[in-house]
Symmetry: D2
Subunit: 474 residues, 4 copies
């Protein structure tokens, strides 16, 4: 998963981009990068580490220019190597470009092969370089950014929200299904596009709207332009952005994420009520869900686990044999709240089950009487091919275990996952506008070896036939 | 403020001390240090920065030994210079010692002068070096650690919780009023003393009890020994540890800090009820108080402000002119929760009023209808001389402003601080066992120019007359 | 200027490459990089800084593999940006390659344009990426490395010594004029190619021979193969390698560099004898020439200037106004050797004259009676387009000043540059095998706006017509 | 060994001290430190590493003040721990001091014990802290710096050149035998004291004179004052400063070090002539000696070994089994100069013999016919207790081996060490003014278990009886 931003403004944009990347840091902690353009040349800096570690005032000073893009990265494809840190910059016919991308192409290997057949070499292993090549290839033919993005959308399969710095302009586009978020904001004297609305808030900007699936936005000092490149007969917004990935204070495709989570929490109470002394989140991801459960049930909200806030990326974890106990270095159970008590513990999801088991164990050791686990997502049954870093099917505890079996495995008194229906209700969108792939195993586009229920695309201004394959019953 | 720890165990203690310092990181983020003893020599490492920044696996490997002490520091006395980073180590008569200290001596200058009259030089500006000198001076005469600590307690005025590494033993003692916390734990195969019980939890140890005011503890491989050096006719536990400083999940002098804060929150509701749509903490310090207010009032607990968790020490803040807006880079108001709503905002304390005003401003800009500020401490009216880094009387907004004036200044719809009585009730100790200096201007020991209500001391095994001055009515 | 190396050996090559790069450090101090191949994948690491700063044991451990290439860089083309650090690695048709290059293409912009017309994007501004593209483009068509290098030699103009890592093989080739050095060595259990013979010595290897101009070498675990791709009717070895750039202990194209310099020193005495008390080099570049002058003249060799050996790259130099004096921080004049003495000072070359003037000034201040400057190169009159970082014509003091004028400018008692004839004699090659461009303004190949006396090429195995332009009389 | 400096000037002294420490870097590469005084307070910075690594412009900017001292260190006593880095700063009776020291006390333990008996603690293991204590102790009694230094000279045994920063004054003194060098210079607008005259040159200052043995110098903005604290009936200048330690371009106690070494080289030829093709130094320490041999013999001076100049402190050396070959990574033999040749190799000294053997081996492998080793010091037979880091008697190859045995051991064709007589002639001082301890085993002061031939002291202005013990015949 990644976070992206593009800004064109009256003054220098490096510091605003810095604050935006910081607001989007939850979308990627492995590396950060900024590329700017000052009317003459590109300035760029990127490195491994958190935003606050990668940049300092000297570096930001040197990143001159009124137009720029930025990126924070948690790698999904490609190795963890320095070349893969984004933005990816390149020169083409005497002009300089930079590109950053959030998502995952499902036909990356095919596209790469196509270019290599023509003699093209690749210096990174990222999808981003592929997108850069497609755009350059099309610009060569038509010199039109619209045609280039149209070409991209015809060729790319998968999820992609892209920002593209072309000298004094920032282009941004979102895949036809709108899988990953992307929104538009107005700053005091310019415009921005970014992964989540919290990044607009960070600059005290005005949220305008989400980028529409299949839309191309161009921001320049002259303002904002939009072209709808494709229309799709349905969407495929990722539900996991609502459940876990996005920040609770973001508004994505019209929904406040915190509200969605709170409603999930309420549904968890209505679907699986229990008598208890307190409702505690697993911090931080379960907090919003837990407030919903508390509100609906009337059981007091009280933290049963306190998270240590000082864990840096260089923190040394205990050795493997101590891992079962190690969770308590991050999360301390509040014995005074838990001993002899019935407690509802709310978390956003269960992936492998290991962390849940460890958390329940340290709560049990305090002398808690009953531990009722409530989970803000339906059981995870299938992998994600569209940008969320999830393990293989075999590693997902719910892929082959019943609720009862998972409950036993994690040693909870009771366990309940929210239902898919309640999740959809909480998001308040038609099911056909959501990607539920990891919950149902049915994806909104064709993925080799998986079931798909794809949406059809119309390319605006043409009679382009969808390149998304037929429903693939296996 | 500082955090301290001492451990003697079967195996190497550097990694346990590392985890403990990490658990105590909230007590000091400026520097960290560890000194160990392996039966032959001292090993030491200390530097500026967070625990996770200062140490790495190679460094911890080289800190060999089964006995050791550690320190995290937020400077109260002394300049921010490298020499002042603790533990302070010294050699004396062929033996090596190390010492670390939490607190603040009120007669540090006098003591320093006394030693200098004898030709003693000082290489740091810390109280810790003074304490080291007193101990060495006494060891020279009597060779008894008990006599040395007795001498300390007779000479030192102020607050001091001390750990002292004397080759294979760790001594620990706490000032006669017990101003700063210090507690004892049992690890799997050894013993530990540390500032707060969460540090015992971090090692999955067993909490034994607090070190008593005036008590000397010695831990060695042979176990734990205790000598009560003085008895005081009263105590002076710092109330600010309960209000703000200690971790919510710590148990200090028998009280779970979270519970004290929750009861304060309940009292805030009872003392100043209001109708509102939600109760939101100022994260993180107001969370426990806010859950109490929500519980007592039935108004839902819901976060109106989301804190960005990735702010490192090198994070670049906006320039001064942008500061009013800058708070939103740390704290994002959740517009969807606040617009057109009446909201109760709960924080732990108001110091200068600047932060409260900024927070209320960014909430107001979301369109909140009413903003009711509730504060978990009584108004701060006087400085702290005993280890909490607080501004001067002039800078404390409540020192010369009425509640109404502060309310206007911070632009709240209503404002209420918890009363001193409710605070004492929530802590559930006799008022004469607490230091309420910052709230009342009356201190438990004599401080030049301030009112004092000192407690009398009896030195065990002697008829020692208190060196605490008479009540000083001015 | 740059230094390059390629090794294929029985065991891991990262540490041998590290020692080689260290031996070649004089050829480039700005950045260093190593890429290796372990039979499955590429490992790479590169960064700004000296070899000893860039690499440590952990990094070298992770650079696994029995085949690898390395590079040290002093930038001639391209900006000083991180992307430009070599080796440049790329993937193509599922295979991974890396390439490093010493030299400078004179038709880089034309070639870049040609590729961009086909839609190719460039992620660096180096010649190296161009060479990578040409090779990949040809491999696509013919899958033959020989054809690919033949295509390179037909297309590339300028100087290039290249190492190319293609999985388990290292290819190396040198431009048809042999402008930059490249030689072959045998290690205990493998083979190597490298810029200078000192790198073979560093591994206690056996020097085999220089790579021939226009030759392609392939080293693999099976040994060494050679194909002569082109034959040229003359060569264009850079004389500045002998005068200054190469290490004195290197043997280049059959000549020990130290010997060439010593003979230049002898010629300097024969051409411009003088009575003096001592002969002193400007350290380090004038040492070998000075020993020759001393030997020929019988005047004792004695250091009049002592160089400080501890100047790191982060050393802070005095501010501009102090620069005239600043040279003495690097070079201390030995007053006891110089006062009231006649001294012959020998340096390798005079570029702008500034340094010579400063050096003579500080010698003069010691009270030296006469200062006779002797210079190991003929006057520099024209720029270098082939890889040596030299200033523009306007900045070269000898481009428009007579010997007398330069002597006055640098404040010497007398001044003599070695003659071109004596230089050629000292190198002991036919003039038509040397590039004397910077001394004569006539270059061995066509360069826009300059006179050329190009050599004709025959591509072996074909009747290829030279792409080197006709003699360009202007 | 260490290098020290003190400056009082019109403007800020941090940058001048930086350049001086850089000029003295050869005296200690382990750590560097500067302390300054700006009229109000001390500023200090010190760390492990070379001068150019420890300091940068920001740090030097913050070291404000017109008076200051500096230190570079190669540890002789005390562990390599951060606390031991000099200058050592301390406060005493409200004033701040700093002290730095070159030398080694032979009664450090006794003095330390004396202070500890009074309750004094030590925070470092350096002699410097002891000297600081003696001065403070005396200042306490008399408040006179002269008395304090007199007390020092009465108490301290061993070698000590000291700079002492007392607010706006810098005091400097040298032990009564003048074992370590210390000299005085005049800067443009102030004064300086420093270990060697090259440091005066580095600031383009004027060398005034050496500090006299037993003299106390005080430099302030008012100029320079001197008090002769003691007179000794002889001196004990370290011969190893002339042979190896000092920079060749320094003038120490009136002798240009380069000249001394050159005369040693001439003596080496006269004592042990040989027919050969070239004279080569072992760089850099044998260069000056080799020029003398060449001059006296008429055999050409030519480098047979080229030293790599880029070895940083982080350079990774080959593993133990490769050490025999490893020397060639630092020193490359110039095969073209050596093959089939008779060569005279000149080095400054032979300590353990290991390096000489390795160097001769790599020369032999080039095919050299004869290798005649000439050594610029007499055989080293005893350890140094006075500040030079030398191995124990057992490790010194010449302590129990004849010249013939050493020659065999290092595999030379012939071997000659300069005689003690010629060394004394070259230095041109009476033998009784030199410390020849490491050559003769007889020291100029009493050292436990060693022979001594001490000089007697008179304390000026008193009838003080020497504290140097009687000649100790064993």
């Amino acid at each position: 998963m990644c976070g992206i931003v593009g800004i064109v403004d009256a003054g220098d944009v490096s510091i605003p981009i810095y604050y935006v990347l910081y607001a989007l840091q939850h979308r990627g902690q492995e590396s950060a990068g900024i590329t700017t353009f000052d009317g003459k040349k590109l300035f760029k800096y990127k490195d491994k580490g958190l935003v606050a570690e990668v940049f300092n005032e000297d570096i930001l000073q040197e990143l001159k220019g009124f137009a720029g893009i930025g990126h924070v990265r948690y790698p999904t494809t490609g190795e963890k190597i320095a070349e893969n840190i984004q933005p990816f910059s390149f020169s083409f016919r005497g002009r300089n470009y930079a590109i950053a991308h959030n998502g995952n192409l499902t036909n990356g290997y095919t596209l790469r092969d196509e270019f290599e057949k023509r003699g093209q070499i690749f210096s990174t292993t990222t999808d981003t370089e592929i997108i850069g090549n497609i755009i350059a290839d099309e610009l060569r033919k038509s010199n039109s950014m619209e045609d280039a993005v149209l070409a991209c959308m015809k060729k790319l399969e998968g999820s992609y929200s892209v920002v593209f710095l072309s000298e004094d302009k920032v282009y941004a586009f979102r895949d036809p299904l709108g899988i990953r978020p992307l929104c538009i904001g107005k700053t005091k004297s310019g415009h921005m596009v970014c992964s989540e609305s919290v990044a607009v808030d960070a600059l005290n900007g005005k949220f305008i709207r989400d980028v529409r699936p299949g839309e191309l936005i161009c921001i320049s000092r002259d303002g904002l332009e939009s072209v709808q490149i494709t229309e799709s007969s349905g969407r495929g917004h990722c539900v996991f952005e609502y459940i876990y990935f996005a920040r609770a204070d973001s508004v994505i495709d019209g929904r406040l994420v915190y509200d969605v989570r709170r409603k999930i929490g309420q549904a968890l109470h209505l679907e699986a009520p229990v008598e208890a002394d307190l409702v505690s989140p697993v911090p931080d991801s379960g907090i919003a869900h837990a407030t919903g459960y508390s509100e609906s049930s009337g059981i007091p909200y009280r933290e049963g686990l306190i998270k240590n806030r000082y864990m840096g990326r260089t923190f040394i974890m205990p050795t493997q044999e101590d891992r079962e106990n190690a969770v308590r270095i991050k999360l301390n159970p509040v014995k005074g709240h838990l001993k002899d008590k019935s407690v509802v513990i709310v978390d956003d999801s269960i992936v492998r089950g290991t962390t849940s088991r460890r958390i329940i164990n340290i709560i049990r050791e305090t002398g808690a009487k009953e531990i009722h686990m409530r989970v803000g997502s339906p059981p995870l049954k299938a992998p994600c091919y569209l940008g969320v870093d999830m393990p293989t099917r075999e590693e997902l505890i719910a892929s082959d275990k019943s609720n009862e079996e998972v409950k036993e495995s994690i040693n909870a008194t009771s366990l309940h996952h929210v239902s898919v229906e309640s999740l959809i209700n909480a998001i308040d969108m038609p099911a056909e506008d959501l990607c539920l792939g990891c919950l149902t195993g049915v994806y909104p586009l064709w993925i080799k070896g998986e079931k798909a229920c794809p949406r059809y695309l119309d390319f605006v201004g043409g009679t382009y036939q969808s390149n998304i394959k037929e429903f693939n019953e296996d």
